[in-house]
Amino acid sequence: MKSTTQSLTWPPTFSTLKKYMDIYEQILDAQPQPQPRGTALNSEEFNLALESVLALKLKLQYDYVKGDVHPLMSETLEGLERVQNIIQDLKNFSRTDTQLTWQKANINHGLESTLNIVSHEFKYKAELVLDLCPLPDIECVPSQLNQVFLNLIVNASQSMDEGHKGLLTIRTGVNDDASLVWVEVQDTGCGIAPENLNKIFDPFYTSKAIGQGTGLGLSVSHGIIQRHGGSITVKSTLGQGTRFKVVLPVVQEPGLAPTQSHTQVQAAQKSLPEQP
């Protein structure tokens, strides 16, 4: 992920700051030193010494350096803060759920962490519009949901042409009785042909060239959402764009673990043969 810590000015800023310190040191060292008692420089020698300091300052671009030190320190600090935030986002994103039990998490938070991590994917291709509604925390496996969001955002970004800036819109909301939350990821990209719409969740289905991606993203995402008792649907128009909608329950069925498929459990409960 070469681009997650990218900043135009870090880490080069640090090596530049070091260079600037070298310059300051050289200039300081070049100042005329106090002489032993009784052997003062005469005024001509003193002036020559000062002139050579001035010449050194010119050669080392001291005025420019002096003016640049403070902006450079601010930019370095800013870069470091950005790195700290990205690390925090990565930690949030990949919250390792060791026991694989339901946890309470906020989808908006997960979306924001995920967006920060992949911002470079769409930064130059699309404007991001966030329309996030305050949401109740929901019972889920947060790292798995973040994986789904990552998949949808990256797909959306890859559908958009680098030629003209598209629009990536992310909306969230909650239904009237606060039993369901939903997330929409919409792009203004190339769209999906109607005859392919029912294939996109198939494992290994992909519109990309051989060697580009596994074609597993959406099928894995589909599985995750299904195990959450939710749904993932798509609407698309060729040449205009695509919208994915994920709906998730706020509360999971008691007694149902994240690893079990809802359809399997429901089938067993109804004593129906298991649906593949």
Partner: protein, 126 residues
């Protein structure tokens, strides 16, 4: 290559980028001037000779491609570079054939690579 006395003009509407470019190029020995737009750049071109110009692509008003075409028309000896964040967009812009670039620089750039790019263009030119 000695960079002593070589004049470079950097053009970008984002001050951060101008600062970053200036810092590196100055410390590498170039004389650096900056402009915040195509129009400003053209005005500066009237005041002195530039050995090279590095321009951003997406700017309000005149685009980088348009600016570099103008530069080629009036000051063909100035080496022209386009700074771009759109990886393939720049290559598809027809105005660019007109500009006859000496090189593309992708944002974010690697300082050493940028220097090598400049070196290659400026030493061939003579």
């Amino acid at each position: 290559m000695s960079t002593q006395g070589l004049q470079i003009l950097c053009v970008d509407d984002e001050p951060n980028i101008l600062r970053a470019l200036t810092r590196f190029l100055k410390m590498s020995g170039f004389e650096v001037s900056t402009a915040g737009s195509g129009q400003e750049a053209l005005i500066l071109f009237q005041t002195r000779h530039f050995d090279a110009v590095i321009s951003d692509m997406g700017m309000p008003g005149m685009s980088g491609a348009e600016l570099l075409s103008e530069v080629r028309r009036h000051w063909p000896k100035t080496s022209r570079f386009l700074l771009t964040g759109f990886s393939d967009l720049a290559a598809q812009d027809p105005t660019l054939d007109d500009a006859q670039l000496c090189g593309f620089i992708h944002k974010p750039w690697d300082n050493e690579a940028l220097l090598a790019c400049l070196h290659a263009a400026l030493s061939v030119r003579d």
